[in-house]
């Protein structure tokens, strides 16, 4: 067997004790087309870029627990309704302006007034007390506050101002390991932020691109124009890979779901969807990453009778909104279309560009929605609430406001979970220490070339 035909299906292994090299650049595929730099908005591709540009008071460490990042310490006594966040001194945004408590308080305040800021639900208000302390007023004792302050909702922007959209061609200002050099609807170009308090990224430059077809992405990996792909293997099944790759899997935490919009008979539609979709087959045929199906009853006959009871012989016509830049979702949509046809529901797939998709999701302008819920932090409650928040952030906020481990009754929501999968990257073997988190974001700040 030619060595060049071998795809290295080994997980990233522990590296020997030589230090990472600084320098070089990398190009990689995004999980979805970029639309905005706002950490509160956008799809999985946007979330990846935002995590590279902005910092949060806490971050999730290798042990899965929150550890201080922008924060030095959190004074949050048991049972208290007031917490104090001490910040690192001498932190600067990439434009050189100091990052102070006022910026952190304003950023948290912005999240409190934004539906997407639901992970900060227990926080009632935030105010700066001096240059390096933020006082948080809480609606309930919040032992998990450090975890919540590690979510994208707590990302700090200058003065708490919302970062620009990709289309505006303006550069966002953050304090993270990368700065944005340029962007368009097809991708984002970044370079290392030499002034990042947590250390400059090892790579000098990083170009993240969205592709219009899976074969384009796989072909780009094959010819070496990208060094990390998200869809390489699936597209190369037929021909066989020609370039070695190491697979890097994140934890299984991304929930694929279908949501029912604010339409007539939404409850009936949800019941039909829940019964008609064969999740096992869906996972087998369309999900190539490590995944498990959500436990549910598959009963197409009952789904059909439910549909006939409500609509009789007239086949209801529904449209499923899909982000066209997410190739996997398009495959899943095709399977759902087939399953619903058997249940007597006529489905059309409404594949739109990423920006339109985001706008319609936020405005609730869809009949059915195919999406992926990413947990804002590795926590079972936040993972479940992220699924609710995908269609009803206010419900997620209310649940989190009530209690730290609020139980969520998914049957009472308009969401039908399908499977829980990991994000997978195919990475050039010479590119080391690239990791993927539970939200599917690649940790580019620690990635480096073996030599360059």
């Amino acid at each position: 067997m030619r060595a060049s035909l071998v795809l290295l299906m080994i997980a990233a292994t522990a590296h020997a004790e030589t230090r990472a090299q600084y320098g070089g650049g990398a190009q990689a595929a995004l999980a979805s087309a970029p639309t905005t730099f706002d950490p509160l908005r956008g799809g999985p591709g946007d979330a990846e870029v935002a995590a590279l540009v902005f910092d949060t008071p806490f971050v999730i460490g290798a042990d899965g627990k929150p550890r201080p990042s922008l924060a030095l310490a959190l004074d949050n006594p048991d049972g208290a309704l007031r917490a104090r966040l001490a910040l690192r001194p001498d932190v600067h945004f990439s434009d050189g302006t100091p990052l102070v408590a006022r910026d952190v308080a304003a950023s948290i305040a912005r999240a409190l007034h934004d539906p997407a800021g639901w992970p900060l639900a227990p926080v009632k208000s935030a105010r700066a007390v001096g240059a390096a302390t933020v006082e948080l007023e809480l609606s309930r004792p919040t032992p998990e506050l450090a975890l919540l302050l590690s979510t994208p909702a707590a990302a700090v922007t200058p003065g708490g101002a919302p970062p620009p959209t990709v289309e505006s061609h303006k550069r966002p200002i953050g304090s993270g390991p990368f700065v944005v050099d340029g962007s368009d609807a097809g991708g984002v170009r970044l370079s290392a932020n030499a002034g990042c308090f947590a250390g400059r990224a090892y790579l000098n430059t990083l170009a993240l691109r969205a592709f219009t077809a899976r074969s384009d992405e796989a072909g780009s990996y094959e010819v070496g124009s990208i060094q990390a792909a998200r869809h390489a293997l699936a597209a190369l099944d037929a021909t066989g890979p020609r370039r070695a790759a190491v697979t890097v899997d994140g934890p299984q935490a991304l929930t694929g779901f279908v949501a029912v919009g604010r339409i007539a008979d939404a409850d009936v539609v949800r019941r039909v969807l829940a019964l008609a979709i064969n999740r096992d087959r869906l996972r087998r045929l369309t999900v190539r990453e490590p995944a498990t199906v959500v436990k549910a009853t598959y009963d197409p006959a009952r789904a059909k009778s439910e549909a006939e009871r409500r609509w009789g012989q007239t086949r209801p016509k529904l449209a499923l909104l899909v982000d066209a830049s997410r190739f996997d979702d398009r495959d899943v949509a095709e399977r759902i279309l087939a399953d619903l046809a058997r249940a007597g529901v006529e489905l059309s797939v409404d594949a739109v560009d990423a920006a339109t998709y985001q706008a319609r999701v936020e405005a609730g302008r869809y009949q059915l929605l195919l999406g992926t819920a990413a947990p804002p932090a590795p926590d079972p409650t936040l993972t479940a609430l992220a699924l609710v928040a995908a269609v009803d952030p206010a419900a997620a906020r209310a649940a989190l406001q009530r209690a730290p481990g609020a139980a969520v009754d998914l049957d009472a929501t308009r969401v039908v979970p399908l499977f829980v999968r990991a994000a997978r990257l195919f990475v050039a073997p010479e590119l080391r220490d690239l990791t993927v988190d539970g939200a599917g974001r690649a940790g580019w700040a620690d990635a480096h070339w073996l030599s360059h």
Binding site: T13, A14, H15, A16, E17, T18, R19, A20, Q21, Y22, L72, R88, P89, D90, V91, P177, A194, G195, C196, F197, A198, G199, R200, A201, Y202, A445, D446, S451
Partner: protein
């Protein structure tokens, strides 16, 4: 007849005046100069420094001399021997730096390097890589004569590990901390310095110093620490904090500035955001590589400190060794490529050695490689099958038997366990 004889003599004189037969090293130098020449224009306006590094001092010296002679012939304004440090060459007013790194392997001599343009202008980059140089030639009798036979110093080596728990050691040193006349091992993590003493069978913890104070404004992505024991005092520093800690044997601990290294008189500064020290930030100047991960000097033994060998590892993973003593010190340091990030120098009863950590294969533990401090840096011992990565190296008499050991902190990251390995 006389005229005829004169004719023969003249012809003979012409023949003997012709260029002597060219050796392999001459041809090698020609090839190097041929590759560098297009990037050394306009020749008459350039002052050029030539730096040659490798493990074979005489070979390096001769090649440097040949390259310099040929470059002078090209009409360059001046050509001189340099030490490879671009900052030094730039400060000294050179416009170009020709760097060569010699390597012998697989029966071939290889020179790889670069032509670097240097500028003193505030409007242009201080250094700009103009060309990569690469020349190789098979080793023949002439070149082999430059390579002395590598002899491994005699003696049996042993290595043994002692567990010290879940301590993420980033730096080590050995010295008498408590004034009892026996050396202790001092390890630095990102947040504290820990003193272990040998009780005859194992290392027991004697003391802990928390490292703290002002947080560093800008850290490297992976934490870095150094620790030095000198005259009973511990100086430790971690990249998490703006200042270090100086803990004397008696009295209060105080803040320490700069980063200190075992056996090195200089303290250095870590540029913001990275884990690489810059020689330009070391006081006093030490003749270190331009950038380096770590440096160690040989302590103890009969040599005066100024003549002691020193070893550093640069960010390309190259070990640089300066043999130190004037009689032994060549104009160039000895180099070995492809080593890990840790280094220590040790004087044993059978000679002086430099130890480095070396990566083996992805997913496998590191090795400790011990080389004799002699031309060619021959490998004297290699400890494989360690239970993890080598996080730090140091040297000293830990077990009180009157002989120094190498001490390595070996960490199994998955098992969250660290062992201190002693090699002698």
């Amino acid at each position: 007849m006389v005229v005829r004889r004169i004719g023969w003599l003249f012809a003979l004189a012409l023949l003997t005046a012709a260029e002597p037969s060219r050796g392999t090293l001459d041809a090698f130098a020609d090839a190097v100069v041929e590759k560098a020449r297009p990037h050394l224009v306009p020749a008459r306006d350039l002052d050029v420094a030539v730096a040659v590094a490798g493990s074979w001092p005489r070979l390096g010296d001769d090649l440097a001399a040949l390259v310099i002679a040929r470059l002078r012939k090209l009409g360059l304004r001046s050509v001189t021997r340099g030490d490879g440090d671009a900052a030094w060459a730039r400060a000294a007013g050179y416009e170009r730096l020709v760097r060569l790194d010699l390597d012998v392997g697989g029966g071939r001599l290889r020179a790889s390097g670069s032509v670097v343009a240097l500028s003193a202008s505030p409007w242009t980059a201080p250094t700009e890589l103009r060309a990569h140089l690469y020349v190789e030639t098979p080793l023949d009798a002439e070149l082999r004569a430059y390579l002395p036979p590598v002899t491994t110093p005699p003696g049996r080596w042993q290595a043994r590990g002692v567990p010290v728990g879940d301590v993420d050691v980033l730096a080590l040193d050995v010295g008498d901390v408590d004034g009892d006349g026996r050396a202790e091992v001092v390890g630095a993590t990102a947040t504290e310095a820990i003193v272990w003493g040998w009780d005859g069978a194992r290392l027991t913890e004697r003391r802990r110093f928390p490292l703290g104070g002002r947080p560093a404004a800008t850290m490297p992505r992976a934490p870095v620490a150094t620790v030095v024991v000198d005259r009973g005092a511990v100086t430790a520093r971690s990249s998490l904090y703006a200042d270090g800690l100086y803990a004397p044997a008696r009295g209060k601990t105080i803040v320490a500035r700069g980063w200190s290294f075992p056996g090195v008189a200089a303290t250095c500064e870590l540029p913001a955001g990275v884990d690489v020290f810059a020689a330009a930030g070391c006081t006093p100047a030490t003749g270190l590589p331009e950038h380096f991960w770590t440096v160690a000097g040989l302590r103890g033994g009969a040599r005066p400190a100024r003549a002691a060998p020193m070893a550093a590892i640069d960010p390309a993973g190259t070990l640089w060794v300066s043999l130190g003593a004037p009689a032994l010190a060549p104009a160039m340091p000895l180099t070995v490529r492809g080593v890990g990030a840790q280094v220590a120098l040790v004087a044993l009863d059978r000679g002086e050695f430099v130890a480095t950590s070396e990566p083996v294969q992805p997913g496998e533990a590191d090795a400790i490689v011990v080389r004799a401090l002699a031309a060619g840096l021959p490998v004297a011992y290699r400890a494989d099958r360690l239970p993890g990565n080598v996080r730090a190296l140091a040297a000293g008499d830990v077990d009180g038997d009157g002989r120094a050991e190498l001490v390595a902190a070996v960490r199994d990251r998955a098992a969250r366990r660290t062992e201190l390995w002693m090699v002698n």
